[in-house]
């Protein structure tokens, strides 16, 4: 089993969700995060004082999946999240040892 984690631009979330839904992904977890990559932050000016906002708002999407579907899922996220501009985000895959469905106690692939 794998965990696909993506950090994307907030306004790309709907596109990513649609793309995953089209693949038949049954569930995903979304959180609001902040950070920066190569695009750094931006500046804001209040009453003549300049503030550098270093951490920009991003969305982190997490999907648990079977190993067979990993590449399709990664491609779907990358395709939907890409605007071509700096700051589009990253996607990475990590291994998962165990998954349990809380309601039934099912484990492993059955719990996905």
């Amino acid at each position: 089993m794998k965990l696909v984690t993506a950090v994307i631009k907030p306004y790309q979330l709907d596109a990513v969700k649609e793309a995953l839904h089209a693949l038949g992904v049954a569930g995903l977890t979304v959180s609001e995060v902040q950070g920066y990559g190569r695009q750094k932050g931006h500046t804001e000016v209040y009453r003549g004082a300049e503030y550098t906002v270093e951490f920009l708002p991003k969305i982190r999407v997490e999907v648990l999946t079977d190993e067979i579907d990993v590449d399709k899922i990664v491609d779907a996220i990358v395709g939907a999240a890409r605007t071509g501009k700096i700051g589009d985000g990253k996607v990475w895959v990590t291994g998962v040892e165990e998954v349990v469905r809380v309601r039934t106690g099912e484990r492993g692939l059955d719990a996905l």
């Binding site: 804001e44 000016v45 209040y46 009453r47 003549g48 004082a49 300049e50 503030y51 550098t52």
Partner: protein
């Protein structure tokens, strides 16, 4: 034989409405300042305004009104016993401004005039709080508010409007509070900011406004209430009230344009904080002048005030004082601009009371020479020096006795939690854990309360679904 006193219903209604309008400005100020402040100090900032409503209203009834508007004793204060809170006045016959020849005065009950002037005292004290964001002990603030109102606002209101030295002897003009309110509060704000020192991390750390829609809402309420402040200050319903009203709108509108123009050129983008601040700067500047200048001069004044105040708010970074929310840059500077403007543009052609009542002259541009400009400057200097001096001493004494500045840990953690044990925003679905309410109500331990609280919910879910199934 003099006629019997009669109440003028037009004047009385307008002053009652104006009083309510001006009162709304202080909660408006709380929102304006609260939005400009950081999220961890919003409530303390708002509390300084709301506590000013509480404390100053009662002081005003008790002795403040007497000191400000009692019969002049020596040019410095009014007879403190004149309207002492222990006295009761007959609403039908005790009318403001009544004399033997004119027993009706302006036809407004004494209590209505007292209430109208009360809300001015309230907001003047509240204005100071913007300079000391996130670092003043609440008890220290209350003590300061009490001392400053007593030694500064009440006497200064007497100097300016109660027949004291500024209005009565110097013949300086101040329609609604350029000297008495804005220069006064601005000078005190600078003094307290200096005594308390800078916020930890200022100006290295970013301390940007946490909620700009609140700033806009606060500025809007201030603008709305300011019609009562300015047009109400005519005290009667007449053409000068109309002049003050239109001038208030014109100068404020022009100041919005002036402020955002500076931002657009200097900082590349016009901002909502700038538009809101420009509105307040315009309102401040037109305050002393609204009933004494022609509308074209009000437009010009608004532009100048918007531009100059937009530049003045950066002074604190150069000079190194942490006037957190720019009370000096907006109120002190704006108050000075409006007061001096009268020395240039005041004209009897819009309001004959300039010479007839106050004994003042036309401004420089209306052939009055430099006389009135000199009077306006002298009045500004007197109020600035007195307010700054007394505020500095008060703040210093409070700091050395009960302590005025909070501990560093409290400031880092956030003054809302440290001084008031509450927080502005609870946006997390978990609510930060609410079990302690059970503990305070004496129902089990916090942990036990949370568990037993969840159980009945699960049980009650069953009958509901059974009913739905049946």
């Amino acid at each position: 034989m003099p006629e019997a006193p009669t109440i003028d219903s037009g004047n009385t209604v307008w002053l009652l409405v104006s009083t309510a309008l001006v009162l709304l400005m202080t909660p408006g100020l709380a929102l304006f300042y609260g939005g400009l402040n950081r999220a961890k100090g919003v409530l303390n900032m708002m509390m300084m305004s709301f506590s000013a409503i509480g404390l100053i209203s009662v002081l005003w009834w008790f002795y403040g009104f007497s000191v400000a508007f009692g019969a002049d004793v020596n040019g410095f204060w009014g007879d403190p016993g004149a309207y002492l809170g222990t006295k009761t006045f007959l609403a039908e016959t005790d009318l403001w401004g009544a004399t033997a020849e004119n027993p009706s005065g302006i036809g407004v009950p004494l209590y209505v005039f007292m209430a109208f002037q009360m809300v001015f005292a309230v907001i003047t004290v509240a204005l100071i709080s913007g300079a000391i964001a996130d670092r003043a002990k609440f008890a220290g603030w209350l003590l300061f508010a009490f001392g400053w109102a007593t030694l500064v606002y009440f006497p200064v209101a007497h100097w300016v409007w109660g027949g004291g030295i500024i209005g009565g002897d110097i013949h300086a003009l101040d329609f609604a509070g350029g000297t008495a309110v804005h220069i006064n509060a601005g000078a005190a704000a600078l003094a307290v900011a200096l005594v308390l020192g800078k916020r930890l991390g200022w100006p290295r750390e970013g301390m940007k406004p946490h909620n700009i829609p609140l700033v806009a809402l606060g500025a809007g309420l201030l603008w709305f209430g300011w019609f009562g402040f300015n047009a109400g200050s005519e005290l009667t319903v007449d053409s000068v009230a109309g002049l003050a009203f239109i001038n208030t709108q014109l100068a404020t509108a022009a100041a919005v344009l002036g402020w955002i123009a500076v931002e657009w050129i200097k900082d590349r983008k016009p901002t909502m904080v700038g538009a809101s601040s420009g509105a307040v700067a315009g309102l401040v500047a037109i305050t002393p002048a609204c009933g004494f200048i022609a509308p074209w001069a009000a437009v010009l004044l608004g532009i100048v005030a918007g531009v100059v105040c937009a530049l003045a708010v950066s002074l604190k970074y150069k000079l190194g004082y942490d006037d957190s929310l720019d009370v000096v840059g907006v109120h002190f500077v704006g108050g000075w601009i409006g007061s001096l403007w009268l020395g240039l543009f005041a004209t009897n052609s819009v309001n004959a009371a300039i010479s007839d009542v106050v004994g003042a002259s036309d401004g420089l541009l209306y052939g009055g020479g430099l006389t009135q400009l000199g009077r306006q400057a002298l009045a500004g200097v007197i109020v600035s020096v007195w307010s700054f001096g007394i505020a500095w001493v008060l703040a210093f004494v409070i700091e050395k006795t009960i302590g005025f500045r909070v501990r560093a840990e409290a400031e880092v953690e956030g003054i809302d939690i440290a001084e008031h044990a509450e927080s502005s925003y609870d946006l997390s679905p978990a609510g930060g854990g609410t079990g302690s309410a059970f503990a305070m109500a004496g129902i089990g331990t916090p942990g036990g309360g949370a568990t037993s609280g969840a159980r009945p919910e699960a049980e009650s879910a069953e009958p509901v679904s059974a009913k739905a199934a049946g």
